[in-house]
Protein backbone atom coordinates (compact mmCIF):
# COMPACT_ATOMS: atom_id res chain seq x y z
CA UNK A 1 0.00 0.00 0.00
CA UNK A 2 1.14 3.56 -0.76
CA UNK A 3 1.53 6.07 2.09
CA UNK A 4 1.23 9.86 1.88
CA UNK A 5 3.22 12.38 3.91
CA UNK A 6 0.77 14.59 5.83
CA UNK A 7 3.21 17.50 5.77
CA UNK A 8 4.30 17.83 2.14
CA UNK A 9 2.20 15.35 0.14
CA UNK A 10 5.08 13.02 -0.93
CA UNK A 11 3.80 9.52 -1.74
CA UNK A 12 5.85 6.51 -0.63
CA UNK A 13 5.40 3.79 -3.23
CA UNK A 14 6.66 0.37 -2.05
CA UNK A 15 7.28 -0.61 -5.69
CA UNK A 16 9.76 2.25 -6.07
CA UNK A 17 11.21 2.27 -2.54
CA UNK A 18 13.53 5.17 -1.71
CA UNK A 19 16.84 4.16 -3.34
CA UNK A 20 18.46 7.58 -2.65
CA UNK A 21 18.22 6.73 1.02
CA UNK A 22 19.09 3.07 0.84
CA UNK A 23 15.55 1.64 0.66
CA UNK A 24 15.23 -1.05 -1.99
CA UNK A 25 12.23 -1.24 -4.34
CA UNK A 26 9.67 -3.68 -2.97
CA UNK A 27 10.01 -2.50 0.65
CA UNK A 28 6.62 -2.14 2.35
CA UNK A 29 6.01 1.02 4.37
CA UNK A 30 5.82 -0.94 7.63
CA UNK A 31 9.25 -2.44 6.94
CA UNK A 32 10.97 0.93 6.57
CA UNK A 33 13.50 1.54 9.36
CA UNK A 34 12.14 3.54 12.32
CA UNK A 35 14.56 6.36 11.61
CA UNK A 36 13.50 6.67 7.96
CA UNK A 37 12.14 10.14 7.20
CA UNK A 38 10.26 11.66 4.30
CA UNK A 39 12.86 12.29 1.57
CA UNK A 40 11.19 15.59 0.66
CA UNK A 41 10.43 17.26 3.97
CA UNK A 42 12.07 15.20 6.70
CA UNK A 43 8.80 14.22 8.42
CA UNK A 44 8.93 11.08 10.57
CA UNK A 45 7.13 7.82 9.70
CA UNK A 46 4.35 8.70 12.15
CA UNK A 47 3.43 11.67 9.94
CA UNK A 48 2.35 9.34 7.08
CA UNK A 49 -1.18 8.10 6.34
CA UNK A 50 -2.31 5.28 4.02
CA UNK A 51 -3.25 6.67 0.60
CA UNK A 52 -7.02 6.80 0.22
Amino acid sequence: MKYVCNICGYVYDPAAGDPDNGVKPGTQFKDLPDDWVCPVCGAEKSEFSPES
Binding site: I7, C8, V40, C41, G42, A43
Partner: protein, 403 residues
Protein backbone atom coordinates in the same frame (compact mmCIF):
# COMPACT_ATOMS: atom_id res chain seq x y z
CA UNK B 1 17.42 51.84 0.39
CA UNK B 2 20.89 52.22 1.84
CA UNK B 3 22.20 49.35 3.97
CA UNK B 4 21.55 49.42 7.70
CA UNK B 5 24.07 48.14 10.26
CA UNK B 6 22.21 45.81 12.63
CA UNK B 7 25.14 44.78 14.81
CA UNK B 8 28.81 45.44 14.34
CA UNK B 9 29.68 44.22 10.81
CA UNK B 10 26.25 42.66 10.23
CA UNK B 11 24.17 44.62 7.74
CA UNK B 12 20.71 44.57 6.21
CA UNK B 13 21.11 44.88 2.43
CA UNK B 14 17.51 44.25 1.46
CA UNK B 15 14.87 45.78 -0.76
CA UNK B 16 11.71 47.58 0.30
CA UNK B 17 9.00 46.79 -2.25
CA UNK B 18 6.50 49.55 -1.60
CA UNK B 19 4.26 48.58 -4.53
CA UNK B 20 3.87 44.82 -4.09
CA UNK B 21 0.20 43.93 -3.56
CA UNK B 22 -0.02 40.49 -5.20
CA UNK B 23 2.29 38.33 -3.12
CA UNK B 24 3.50 35.32 -5.13
CA UNK B 25 0.21 35.08 -7.03
CA UNK B 26 -1.94 33.76 -4.18
CA UNK B 27 -1.97 36.21 -1.30
CA UNK B 28 -2.45 39.94 -0.94
CA UNK B 29 0.18 42.13 0.68
CA UNK B 30 -1.88 45.29 1.21
CA UNK B 31 1.03 47.26 2.67
CA UNK B 32 3.82 46.02 0.40
CA UNK B 33 6.72 43.85 1.53
CA UNK B 34 10.49 43.69 1.83
CA UNK B 35 13.05 41.17 0.61
CA UNK B 36 15.61 41.10 3.38
CA UNK B 37 19.18 40.06 2.64
CA UNK B 38 22.19 40.39 4.91
CA UNK B 39 25.92 40.93 4.70
CA UNK B 40 28.38 39.75 7.35
CA UNK B 41 31.84 41.30 7.18
CA UNK B 42 34.50 39.21 8.84
CA UNK B 43 37.77 37.73 7.57
CA UNK B 44 35.43 36.13 5.08
CA UNK B 45 32.58 38.24 3.74
CA UNK B 46 29.27 36.38 3.53
CA UNK B 47 26.07 37.39 1.79
CA UNK B 48 22.89 35.76 3.13
CA UNK B 49 20.18 35.46 0.45
CA UNK B 50 19.61 37.98 -2.36
CA UNK B 51 16.47 39.62 -3.77
CA UNK B 52 13.74 39.34 -6.38
CA UNK B 53 15.17 39.58 -9.90
CA UNK B 54 13.38 42.81 -10.83
CA UNK B 55 15.10 44.55 -7.90
CA UNK B 56 18.59 43.23 -8.70
CA UNK B 57 19.96 46.65 -9.70
CA UNK B 58 18.84 48.23 -6.43
CA UNK B 59 20.20 45.24 -4.53
CA UNK B 60 23.71 45.42 -5.97
CA UNK B 61 23.70 49.19 -5.44
CA UNK B 62 22.95 48.67 -1.71
CA UNK B 63 25.60 45.96 -1.47
CA UNK B 64 28.17 48.18 -3.18
CA UNK B 65 27.78 50.77 -0.42
CA UNK B 66 29.55 48.25 1.82
CA UNK B 67 31.83 46.09 -0.32
CA UNK B 68 32.85 45.52 -3.88
CA UNK B 69 30.70 42.58 -4.98
CA UNK B 70 33.84 40.67 -6.02
CA UNK B 71 35.07 40.86 -2.41
CA UNK B 72 32.16 38.69 -1.22
CA UNK B 73 33.61 35.25 -0.42
CA UNK B 74 30.56 33.21 0.53
CA UNK B 75 26.96 33.13 -0.58
CA UNK B 76 24.58 31.54 1.92
CA UNK B 77 21.30 30.43 0.36
CA UNK B 78 18.73 29.92 3.11
CA UNK B 79 15.77 29.73 0.77
CA UNK B 80 15.46 29.35 -2.98
CA UNK B 81 12.10 30.90 -3.69
CA UNK B 82 12.73 33.51 -6.41
CA UNK B 83 11.95 36.51 -4.18
CA UNK B 84 15.17 35.60 -2.33
CA UNK B 85 17.20 33.89 -5.03
CA UNK B 86 16.11 35.88 -8.09
CA UNK B 87 19.36 37.85 -8.07
CA UNK B 88 21.49 34.78 -7.29
CA UNK B 89 22.68 34.15 -10.85
CA UNK B 90 23.84 37.76 -11.10
CA UNK B 91 25.36 37.52 -7.61
CA UNK B 92 27.40 34.48 -8.69
CA UNK B 93 28.56 36.37 -11.80
CA UNK B 94 29.46 39.55 -9.91
CA UNK B 95 30.84 38.12 -6.68
CA UNK B 96 32.59 35.04 -8.10
CA UNK B 97 32.18 33.45 -4.66
CA UNK B 98 34.64 30.95 -3.28
CA UNK B 99 31.71 28.91 -1.95
CA UNK B 100 27.91 28.79 -2.11
CA UNK B 101 26.33 27.14 0.92
CA UNK B 102 22.89 25.55 0.85
CA UNK B 103 20.95 22.68 2.44
CA UNK B 104 20.84 19.19 0.86
CA UNK B 105 17.30 19.87 -0.42
CA UNK B 106 18.47 23.30 -1.55
CA UNK B 107 21.10 21.73 -3.79
CA UNK B 108 18.42 19.72 -5.56
CA UNK B 109 16.17 22.75 -6.08
CA UNK B 110 19.07 24.94 -7.21
CA UNK B 111 19.84 22.62 -10.10
CA UNK B 112 16.22 22.78 -11.23
CA UNK B 113 15.89 26.55 -10.94
CA UNK B 114 19.17 27.83 -12.36
CA UNK B 115 22.06 26.80 -14.60
CA UNK B 116 24.46 25.95 -11.79
CA UNK B 117 27.20 24.20 -13.78
CA UNK B 118 30.61 25.10 -12.30
CA UNK B 119 29.09 26.85 -9.29
CA UNK B 120 31.13 26.12 -6.13
CA UNK B 121 28.15 24.69 -4.23
CA UNK B 122 28.84 23.20 -0.81
CA UNK B 123 26.00 21.29 0.77
CA UNK B 124 25.71 21.78 4.52
CA UNK B 125 23.69 19.40 6.64
CA UNK B 126 21.76 20.43 9.70
CA UNK B 127 24.17 21.12 12.57
CA UNK B 128 27.05 21.81 10.18
CA UNK B 129 29.12 24.90 10.75
CA UNK B 130 31.55 27.16 8.85
CA UNK B 131 34.01 29.76 10.06
CA UNK B 132 34.05 33.35 8.84
CA UNK B 133 37.07 34.28 10.98
CA UNK B 134 36.05 35.70 14.34
CA UNK B 135 32.55 34.33 13.84
CA UNK B 136 31.05 31.05 12.78
CA UNK B 137 27.77 30.18 11.11
CA UNK B 138 25.81 27.08 12.12
CA UNK B 139 23.06 25.77 9.89
CA UNK B 140 19.72 24.32 10.92
CA UNK B 141 17.59 22.69 8.26
CA UNK B 142 13.93 23.68 8.56
CA UNK B 143 12.42 21.57 5.82
CA UNK B 144 8.90 22.69 4.87
CA UNK B 145 9.19 25.89 6.85
CA UNK B 146 8.10 26.57 4.26
CA UNK B 147 9.89 24.85 1.35
CA UNK B 148 11.98 21.65 1.41
CA UNK B 149 15.19 23.69 1.04
CA UNK B 150 14.50 26.17 3.86
CA UNK B 151 17.15 26.54 6.52
CA UNK B 152 18.21 28.88 9.33
CA UNK B 153 21.76 30.24 9.68
CA UNK B 154 22.90 31.10 13.19
CA UNK B 155 25.88 33.14 14.36
CA UNK B 156 26.47 32.11 17.99
CA UNK B 157 29.05 34.87 18.63
CA UNK B 158 26.43 37.54 17.87
CA UNK B 159 23.35 35.51 18.91
CA UNK B 160 21.79 36.27 15.56
CA UNK B 161 19.67 33.92 13.48
CA UNK B 162 18.78 34.45 9.83
CA UNK B 163 15.44 32.67 9.83
CA UNK B 164 14.50 32.73 6.14
CA UNK B 165 10.72 33.08 5.67
CA UNK B 166 9.86 32.00 9.22
CA UNK B 167 8.67 34.95 11.34
CA UNK B 168 8.31 37.10 8.20
CA UNK B 169 5.64 39.70 7.55
CA UNK B 170 4.58 41.66 4.48
CA UNK B 171 5.00 45.29 5.40
CA UNK B 172 7.02 47.89 3.53
CA UNK B 173 8.49 50.40 6.00
CA UNK B 174 11.50 52.69 6.28
CA UNK B 175 12.01 51.36 9.81
CA UNK B 176 13.92 48.09 10.05
CA UNK B 177 13.13 46.84 13.56
CA UNK B 178 9.84 45.63 14.99
CA UNK B 179 10.30 47.81 18.08
CA UNK B 180 10.11 50.92 15.87
CA UNK B 181 6.56 50.29 14.58
CA UNK B 182 3.07 49.88 16.05
CA UNK B 183 2.60 46.52 17.77
CA UNK B 184 -1.01 45.97 16.74
CA UNK B 185 -0.25 46.32 13.03
CA UNK B 186 2.87 44.19 13.41
CA UNK B 187 0.85 41.40 15.00
CA UNK B 188 -1.68 41.67 12.20
CA UNK B 189 0.90 41.32 9.41
CA UNK B 190 2.65 38.51 11.29
CA UNK B 191 -0.68 36.61 11.48
CA UNK B 192 -1.51 37.38 7.87
CA UNK B 193 1.81 35.86 6.75
CA UNK B 194 1.41 32.84 9.03
CA UNK B 195 -2.21 32.23 7.98
CA UNK B 196 -1.45 32.24 4.25
CA UNK B 197 2.04 30.76 4.04
CA UNK B 198 3.20 28.97 7.17
CA UNK B 199 -0.10 27.56 8.53
CA UNK B 200 -0.09 24.17 6.73
CA UNK B 201 3.30 23.44 8.27
CA UNK B 202 2.22 24.11 11.84
CA UNK B 203 3.56 20.69 13.03
CA UNK B 204 6.96 21.66 11.56
CA UNK B 205 6.79 25.04 13.33
CA UNK B 206 6.24 23.32 16.68
CA UNK B 207 9.12 20.92 16.02
CA UNK B 208 11.40 23.82 15.08
CA UNK B 209 10.45 25.80 18.19
CA UNK B 210 11.20 22.72 20.30
CA UNK B 211 14.54 22.33 18.52
CA UNK B 212 15.45 25.98 19.24
CA UNK B 213 14.66 25.35 22.92
CA UNK B 214 16.54 22.02 22.95
CA UNK B 215 19.66 23.56 21.38
CA UNK B 216 19.38 26.43 23.89
CA UNK B 217 20.00 28.88 21.08
CA UNK B 218 20.62 32.26 22.60
CA UNK B 219 18.80 34.83 20.50
CA UNK B 220 19.48 38.51 20.48
CA UNK B 221 18.15 39.01 16.96
CA UNK B 222 15.82 37.06 14.69
CA UNK B 223 16.20 38.24 11.12
CA UNK B 224 13.47 37.00 8.77
CA UNK B 225 13.53 37.44 4.98
CA UNK B 226 10.42 39.68 4.93
CA UNK B 227 9.33 42.68 6.92
CA UNK B 228 10.51 43.94 10.28
CA UNK B 229 13.48 42.44 12.13
CA UNK B 230 13.16 41.25 15.71
CA UNK B 231 15.60 42.13 18.47
CA UNK B 232 15.80 41.96 22.26
CA UNK B 233 12.53 41.05 23.94
CA UNK B 234 10.79 40.80 20.57
CA UNK B 235 12.62 37.51 19.94
CA UNK B 236 10.77 35.79 22.80
CA UNK B 237 7.56 37.55 21.73
CA UNK B 238 7.69 36.25 18.15
CA UNK B 239 8.55 32.68 19.26
CA UNK B 240 5.56 32.76 21.61
CA UNK B 241 3.24 34.11 18.90
CA UNK B 242 4.41 31.40 16.48
CA UNK B 243 3.74 28.71 19.08
CA UNK B 244 0.25 30.09 19.70
CA UNK B 245 -0.58 30.26 16.00
CA UNK B 246 0.79 26.76 15.32
CA UNK B 247 -1.08 25.25 18.28
CA UNK B 248 -4.28 26.84 16.93
CA UNK B 249 -6.30 26.59 20.11
CA UNK B 250 -9.86 27.54 19.19
CA UNK B 251 -11.11 30.99 20.21
CA UNK B 252 -14.70 32.21 20.77
CA UNK B 253 -14.89 33.86 17.40
CA UNK B 254 -16.56 32.88 14.11
CA UNK B 255 -16.04 33.83 10.49
CA UNK B 256 -19.11 33.62 8.26
CA UNK B 257 -18.23 33.52 4.56
CA UNK B 258 -20.82 33.44 1.82
CA UNK B 259 -21.80 34.28 -1.71
CA UNK B 260 -25.33 35.15 -2.71
CA UNK B 261 -27.40 35.76 -5.87
CA UNK B 262 -30.67 37.34 -4.66
CA UNK B 263 -29.84 37.84 -0.96
CA UNK B 264 -31.64 34.77 0.44
CA UNK B 265 -28.40 33.11 1.52
CA UNK B 266 -27.16 36.48 2.79
CA UNK B 267 -30.18 36.82 5.09
CA UNK B 268 -29.61 33.31 6.40
CA UNK B 269 -25.95 34.05 7.17
CA UNK B 270 -26.89 37.18 9.13
CA UNK B 271 -29.39 35.14 11.16
CA UNK B 272 -26.74 32.50 11.98
CA UNK B 273 -24.47 35.33 13.12
CA UNK B 274 -27.18 36.50 15.54
CA UNK B 275 -27.41 32.99 16.99
CA UNK B 276 -23.64 32.84 17.47
CA UNK B 277 -23.72 36.21 19.23
CA UNK B 278 -26.43 34.85 21.58
CA UNK B 279 -23.82 32.30 22.67
CA UNK B 280 -21.23 35.01 23.27
CA UNK B 281 -19.27 34.31 20.08
CA UNK B 282 -17.75 37.29 18.25
CA UNK B 283 -18.50 37.21 14.52
CA UNK B 284 -17.06 38.55 11.27
CA UNK B 285 -19.31 38.38 8.20
CA UNK B 286 -17.32 38.26 4.96
CA UNK B 287 -18.83 38.27 1.47
CA UNK B 288 -16.48 36.18 -0.63
CA UNK B 289 -16.43 38.82 -3.37
CA UNK B 290 -15.84 41.73 -0.99
CA UNK B 291 -12.89 39.98 0.68
CA UNK B 292 -9.82 38.38 -0.87
CA UNK B 293 -9.32 34.71 0.07
CA UNK B 294 -6.08 35.60 1.87
CA UNK B 295 -7.92 38.17 4.04
CA UNK B 296 -10.52 35.51 4.89
CA UNK B 297 -7.76 33.09 5.96
CA UNK B 298 -6.24 35.73 8.23
CA UNK B 299 -9.59 36.25 9.97
CA UNK B 300 -10.10 32.50 10.22
CA UNK B 301 -6.71 31.95 11.90
CA UNK B 302 -8.00 33.68 14.99
CA UNK B 303 -11.46 32.06 14.92
CA UNK B 304 -12.72 28.73 16.19
CA UNK B 305 -15.71 28.48 13.85
CA UNK B 306 -16.38 28.81 10.14
CA UNK B 307 -19.90 29.15 8.77
CA UNK B 308 -20.29 29.03 5.00
CA UNK B 309 -23.18 29.93 2.74
CA UNK B 310 -23.93 29.58 -0.94
CA UNK B 311 -27.07 29.24 -2.98
CA UNK B 312 -27.41 26.26 -5.30
CA UNK B 313 -26.20 27.21 -8.75
CA UNK B 314 -26.36 24.70 -11.62
CA UNK B 315 -26.53 21.82 -9.13
CA UNK B 316 -23.49 22.99 -7.20
CA UNK B 317 -22.18 26.03 -5.32
CA UNK B 318 -21.07 29.43 -6.61
CA UNK B 319 -17.55 29.42 -8.07
CA UNK B 320 -15.87 31.94 -5.75
CA UNK B 321 -16.82 29.74 -2.80
CA UNK B 322 -15.32 26.69 -4.51
CA UNK B 323 -12.12 28.67 -5.15
CA UNK B 324 -11.95 29.71 -1.50
CA UNK B 325 -12.40 26.10 -0.36
CA UNK B 326 -9.61 24.90 -2.64
CA UNK B 327 -7.27 27.52 -1.16
CA UNK B 328 -8.39 26.84 2.41
CA UNK B 329 -7.94 23.07 2.12
CA UNK B 330 -4.27 23.52 1.24
CA UNK B 331 -3.70 25.68 4.31
CA UNK B 332 -5.00 22.93 6.64
CA UNK B 333 -6.68 25.05 9.33
CA UNK B 334 -6.82 23.18 12.64
CA UNK B 335 -9.32 22.76 15.47
CA UNK B 336 -12.37 24.44 13.91
CA UNK B 337 -16.07 23.67 14.03
CA UNK B 338 -18.33 24.71 11.17
CA UNK B 339 -21.65 24.65 9.45
CA UNK B 340 -23.41 25.55 6.22
CA UNK B 341 -26.54 27.31 5.02
CA UNK B 342 -27.93 28.09 1.57
CA UNK B 343 -30.98 28.76 -0.52
CA UNK B 344 -32.11 27.13 -3.75
CA UNK B 345 -34.76 27.33 -6.45
CA UNK B 346 -35.49 23.85 -7.77
CA UNK B 347 -32.68 21.52 -6.69
CA UNK B 348 -30.91 21.83 -3.33
CA UNK B 349 -27.35 20.59 -3.68
CA UNK B 350 -25.73 23.63 -2.00
CA UNK B 351 -25.71 22.61 1.67
CA UNK B 352 -24.53 19.00 1.17
CA UNK B 353 -21.85 20.30 -1.22
CA UNK B 354 -20.70 22.91 1.33
CA UNK B 355 -20.62 20.31 4.09
CA UNK B 356 -18.58 18.00 1.91
CA UNK B 357 -15.99 20.76 1.46
CA UNK B 358 -15.91 21.49 5.20
CA UNK B 359 -15.24 17.83 5.90
CA UNK B 360 -12.51 17.68 3.27
CA UNK B 361 -10.86 20.68 4.90
CA UNK B 362 -10.95 18.87 8.25
CA UNK B 363 -13.57 21.06 9.93
CA UNK B 364 -15.89 19.39 12.44
CA UNK B 365 -19.36 19.91 10.94
CA UNK B 366 -22.17 20.73 13.39
CA UNK B 367 -25.61 19.27 12.49
CA UNK B 368 -26.61 19.10 8.84
CA UNK B 369 -27.07 22.81 8.12
CA UNK B 370 -30.10 24.85 7.04
CA UNK B 371 -31.35 25.06 3.47
CA UNK B 372 -34.36 26.89 2.11
CA UNK B 373 -36.23 26.80 -1.19
CA UNK B 374 -36.80 30.25 -2.72
CA UNK B 375 -36.98 32.90 0.00
CA UNK B 376 -36.26 32.35 3.70
CA UNK B 377 -39.38 32.77 5.82
CA UNK B 378 -39.54 34.03 9.39
CA UNK B 379 -39.37 30.40 10.51
CA UNK B 380 -36.33 29.71 8.33
CA UNK B 381 -34.48 32.64 9.88
CA UNK B 382 -35.46 31.41 13.34
CA UNK B 383 -33.99 28.02 12.39
CA UNK B 384 -30.80 29.82 11.28
CA UNK B 385 -30.56 31.66 14.61
CA UNK B 386 -31.01 28.34 16.42
CA UNK B 387 -28.34 26.80 14.19
CA UNK B 388 -25.99 29.66 15.07
CA UNK B 389 -26.56 28.91 18.77
CA UNK B 390 -25.89 25.21 18.13
CA UNK B 391 -22.58 26.01 16.39
CA UNK B 392 -21.71 28.43 19.22
CA UNK B 393 -22.36 25.73 21.83
CA UNK B 394 -20.24 23.22 19.87
CA UNK B 395 -17.42 25.77 19.68
CA UNK B 396 -17.56 26.43 23.40
CA UNK B 397 -17.40 22.66 24.05
CA UNK B 398 -14.35 22.42 21.78
CA UNK B 399 -12.68 25.32 23.55
CA UNK B 400 -13.32 23.63 26.90
CA UNK B 401 -11.93 20.32 25.59
CA UNK B 402 -8.77 21.82 24.05
CA UNK B 403 -8.29 24.82 26.35
Amino acid sequence: MKPVELKKDIYWVGIVDWNCRDFHGYSLSPMGTTYNAFLVKDEKIALVDTAKADHAGEFFCALSHLVKPEDVDYLIVNHLEPDHSGALVEAVQRCKPEKIFCSPMGARSLAGLYQTKDWPIEVIKSGGSISLGKRSVTFLETRMLHWPDSMFSYIPEDKVVFSSDAFGQNWATSERFADQVGRETLDRVLSEYFANIVQPYSPVVLKTLDKIAELKLELDMILPDHGLLLRGEDCAWVLKRYREMAEAKPKPRAVLVYDTMWQSTEQMIHAVSDGLKDEGIETRIMHVKANHHSAIMTELLDSGALVVGSPTHNNGILPYMAGLFQYMKGLKPLNKVGGAVGSFGWSGECVPALNEWLEKIGIEVVGSGVKQQWRPTHDTLKACVAYGREIGAALKAKIAALG
